[in-house]
Amino acid sequence: MAAQVPDPQVKVYKARGTINAFLGLFIILVTVILTIILYTAVQLYRSSIAQEDSVRLAARNLDYSERNFGQVMRWSLYALVELSRETLDPTRLEQVRASLNIAAQRIQLPMFRDLYNEPLTADIDSLAALILNDTDPKLKAIIAAPQDAPLASALRADATNRVLSVEQTTNEILLKNEFIRKEQAGQLIDSTHRSSERTRESFTFLVGAVLLFIVMALFSGAGVASFFSQRERVRLALEQLNQHLEARVHERTTAAESAAVEAQRASQVRSLFLANISHELRTPLNPILNFSHAVASGMLGPVTPEQVDALDKVTISGEHLLSLINDALDITKIESGQLALYVEQGINLRGEMQMVIHAAESLLRDKPAVRLDIDIPDTLPPITGDKRRIRQIFLNLVSNACNYTEQGHIVFRLMRVGDDILGVVADTGPGISVLEVESAFQNFQQTENGLRKGMGTGLGLPIARYLAEAHHGRLWLESRVGVGTTFFVSLPIRSTLAAGVVHSRLSEVTTITQTG
């Protein structure tokens, strides 16, 4: 027997697998979000570095401006010194002029404008304009006329003033520069501090994120792995369940097969038993009935009428006993599905019914008040069926009619109706009430009249109806209490029954048509 794998276990495995898969997916999602955050942190860090760089660049520009303004001042002082000389050297003045112009142009570079505020920019512009528009033409003039003493004197005075102005502006700028430098230094410190802080934060964040990422990756990996392992477990469990089911199906099939074999064997045993018992019960009746006949017939010597009468009673009782035995065996066979028909073609109903007519005449011998009307035309077509059983159907019906009818008439008629032979057995007996119709067809059930008379087994009608249906025909009745009963039997002329031995089964439900 295979190991029990209950169905719910498979469900549990499946559910676990699904949960793990969802967990894994969730973890992967979280990891993606973390990666985005980490990327943002790195970008922040880089921007703080860039800010620091820009501060450093500004500081560099500041140094440059200082140098330039220093140069302007130095060149100015130098020009003044040159002018204060007794003999002016035009070549050196030309050098002074060129240097001043370069310095004036350089302090007007855009990078200084970004560095200072509005008034200081104006100062720078006016300083440059002064050098380029005023000092420069005057220097040009003195270079052209170095010997002009009054011009030199005027220039000297002018230059002295200018030096003061230049010095003032330069000092202002340097002061301003100092201020800016301090500011910048603070900014730089702040920025550096901030950026280093950011760096630290980013690094911490980075490490945390990496650790989290690793943990998440491990978890999600475990989740995915678990999902697949659960799936494998589900597959294995299903496989096991399948094997188990197969084993169980095999087991059941074997059991069913052996039960079928057993049932078949039991059926065969019963069949054999029935065959034996019917044989054994009928066998002794053979000498009983026939020796009675033999003695009564005078075959064995002269007999008196009283002796014949006595032997007739033996014969009648013996035949009654035989019919009881036959009925009991028939109903047993019918109920166990063992009743066989020996189907032949070309049955001559008129010929077969002779025995029925003889039986009726014999039963009515002591009932002169009952008239027997037989109408069996010799034009009836031959039919297919079991001739003994067809005979039995009508024998049962006609015997019933004879037994229950005390006066009036009994009609036994066969006719062709379409594709069927219709048999009619009508009597003027006590009739069967509506309430008794059903029980008349039940095994061992008799009507009140039947019970009162104490005749028969109550099997005649059920057997007759079964035999009609086994021939694919029908048996029904119409009856009126106090008027009489008419039985109808329809049998197909061309039966679909195959010739030979036919085992027929008891039909499930038989409907009864009853009118009147």
């Binding site: 065959a275 034996n276 019917s278 044989h279 054994e280 009928r282 066998t283 002794p284 009746l285 053979n286 000498p287 009983i288 009935l289 026939n290 020796f291 006949h293 033999a294 017939s297 075959m299 064995l300 035989l322 009743l339 066989a340 028909l341 020996y342 079991d386 003994r388 059983r389 030979g500 031995v501």
Partner: protein, 132 residues
């Protein structure tokens, strides 16, 4: 006396059944011999030659049946063509088909009919098959 001179061999284990058949057949003028258990049928039949007809019961004790006895009769050349008619209390619906398959010439149900038994046998001698 329609069966005058006919030699009829009965194979039947029940003495009373044999007796009534013998009575009816002998009253009709036939000569009757019989074997009870089927074991010595061939020898007895050969000593009763020329046999005109076998009447064969079908059920015997000791797991033997009339068909086996018939087969043994058929195996003897002198007995091969002699007609065999079954006389049995078994269900005719089942046995007629088997009897036909074994080459029997008829089946008479037990209890036999006092009035019809001899006419059936006459029918067999007239060349008819009797499947009653």
């Amino acid at each position: 006396m329609s069966l005058i001179g006919k030699r009829i061999f009965i194979v039947e284990d029940n003495i009373e059944n044999k007796a009534i058949m013998q009575l009816l057949l002998e009253k009709a003028g036939a000569l009757v011999a019989f074997d009870r258990w089927g074991v010595t049928t061939v020898e007895k039949a050969l000593s009763f030659m020329p046999v005109d007809l076998f009447l064969m019961d079908l059920m015997f004790p000791h797991d033997q049946d009339g068909y086996q006895i018939a087969t043994r009769l058929r195996a003897v050349s002198e007995l091969r063509t002699i007609p065999i008619v079954a006389v049995s209390a078994a269900d005719p619906a089942e046995e007629i088909a088997r009897a036909q398959a074994h080459g029997f010439s008829g089946f008479i149900a037990k209890p036999i009919s006092f009035h019809d038994f001899v006419p059936y046998i006459e029918g067999v001698f007239a060349g008819k098959q009797v499947w009653n």
